[in-house]
């Protein structure tokens, strides 16, 4: 039996009907959407527009508010760095983020700092959530952008976007969210018109890797003052030049449509899987990092006290594919900045693993998983 994949926050398997659509535009209808001078190009262009509409519908946006990118990382860069010129020109050089953002947000924010912007990173509580009062405390008249992730990639905890949007009512700051983990799963918060920039990714919703989008809502009918980061073509309203990957975009559209249609059913399946997983792992007496009451049902971050995460992941690899909260850099293990921000002690963080599944995930051999982890705990507890 091959290992069961439990790393769906890293990437998800391709939904079979999405794969069919991608294959169609790879093999048969391979025209360039920017060449609508023949049927090949026109059909590819229609596929792109169809996908644009499908993505827009999930977040309650208009079709012309969807800018296709190579993924959420590029969308985050475009949302954050694409506003820099406007901030510099207008003297609005203050930006607010959170300490638990993905590197795809934190590093563009660092780049803004280098350009002369001031960046405030909000703390989170032990529940893994940002406190809206903390935002209100640092909000300034010259705040250009507030960027707060939708769902944390390590804990699965949903951030209070509706409350944040309400707190910004009447303030001109642009609100961006990195929704790579929540788009198509936690549908309704992203439909708030106050959330004007939304970064999404296809491969987190059973679509192909290499494609995503930035939803950029218009404000009072006018486009946001975004500037392109790349040059060399007029695609995507001049904001993202380059030949559009029609197969990937068509796949993203289909994945988005399926997510919009099936998210409640998928969430229920994930909730049941979660209950079975926690029941099966209960003999290990794990603790959950982040408040489960606010978490999406397809992921859990577990502290397995006395079991080093790196050792557990390696030992389990023939049974289940999981990951830790730690990112390894040049051979040294760096403690998760997310768990650190939540106040999780280092020894607990280093024993924490992330499990993330989907509606397509088969049941793992939980008894085998527990037995293996117990043997590791014995080994480390008794210094074996």
């Amino acid at each position: 039996m091959s290992a069961v994949y439990l790393d769906c926050n890293a990437t998800t398997p391709l939904e079979p009907s999405v794969a069919e659509v991608v294959r169609r535009f790879m093999e048969k209808d391979y025209g360039n959407p920017a060449s609508p001078v023949h049927d090949f190009g026109t059909f590819a262009r229609m596929a792109v527009e169809k996908a644009r509409g499908e993505v827009a519908e999930v977040v309650g946006a208009r079709r012309d508010e969807v800018i296709f990118t190579s993924g959420a990382t590029e969308a985050n860069n475009l949302a954050i760095l694409g506003l820099a010129a406007h901030g510099l020109a207008t003297g609005r050089r203050h930006v607010i983020g959170t300490k638990i953002e993905h590197k795809a947000v934190l590093e563009p924010l660092e780049a803004l700092t280098a350009l002369g912007f001031e960046v405030d990173l909000l703390p989170v509580g032990s529940d893994g959530r940002v406190c809206v009062e903390e935002l209100q405390a640092v909000l300034r008249p010259d705040t250009l952008l507030v960027t707060i992730m939708h769902v944390n990639n390590e804990t699965g905890v949903i951030q209070p976007l509706a409350e944040i949007a309400a707190a910004l009512e009447g303030h001109p700051a642009i609100l961006h969210t990195d929704a790579a983990q929540g788009f198509g799963k936690d549908i309704f918060p992203l439909q708030s018109p106050r959330i004007e920039l939304i970064s999404i990714s296809a491969h987190k919703i059973y679509g192909p890797k290499g494609v995503g989008a930035l939803v950029a809502r218009k404000r009072s009918g006018s486009p946001l003052p975004l500037r392109p980061l790349m040059f060399g073509g007029g695609q995507e309203q001049g904001l993202r030049p380059g030949t559009l990957p029609a197969p990937l975009i068509a796949g993203l559209g289909t994945a988005a449509r399926l997510a919009g249609r099936n998210h409640l059913e998928r969430n229920e399946m994930n909730r049941q899987f979660r209950a079975r997983a926690l029941a099966a792992l209960a003999p290990l007496k794990p603790t959950v990092n982040g408040d489960p009451a606010y978490a999406l049902p397809h992921a859990v971050n577990l502290a397995l006290h006395g079991i080093p995460a790196a050792r557990a992941i390696d030992a389990l690899k023939d049974l289940v594919a999981v990951s830790s909260s730690s990112a390894c850099t040049a051979g040294s293990t760096e403690t998760s900045h997310v768990l650190a921000a939540m106040g999780v002690p280092r020894c607990t963080a280093d024993c924490s693993i992330r499990l993330a599944w989907s509606h397509l995930t088969p049941e793992p051999d939980w008894a085998g998983v527990v037995a293996l982890l117990q043997s590791i705990r014995t080994e480390f507890t008794h210094g074996g």
């Binding site: 169609r24 026109t42 059909f43 229609m46 596929a47 169809k50 509409g53 079709r63 012309d64 289909t254």
Partner: protein, 83 residues
């Protein structure tokens, strides 16, 4: 309501309230009412549905094309018959 019902409803709506001409609506309704024949072509039906919903006689006018015109719908109908 399945995709064929949606196509029929959208076509009738555009006939009654939009600019969709009868000569273009008829072949679309023919598709919508033949789900057995087109059941395995869901992707193309979805495309056609989008084009009908956002039909605009003057879609090609102006600098940006954000709507769909009769040529787009004819092309999709042709594709449906060819496949």
């Amino acid at each position: 309501m399945d995709i064929f019902d949606e196509l029929e409803e959208a076509t009738n709506y555009q006939l009654a309230h939009g600019d969709l001409p009868v000569w273009l609506a008829e072949p679309v309704l023919e598709v919508a009412r033949n789900r057995d024949k087109y059941r395995d072509k869901e992707y193309l039906i979805e495309l056609l549905l989008m084009q009908v919903r956002e039909y605009d006689t003057y879609a090609e006018a102006g600098c940006c094309k954000w709507a769909f015109d009769w040529e787009d719908i004819k092309r999709s109908l042709k594709k449906l018959l060819e496949e």
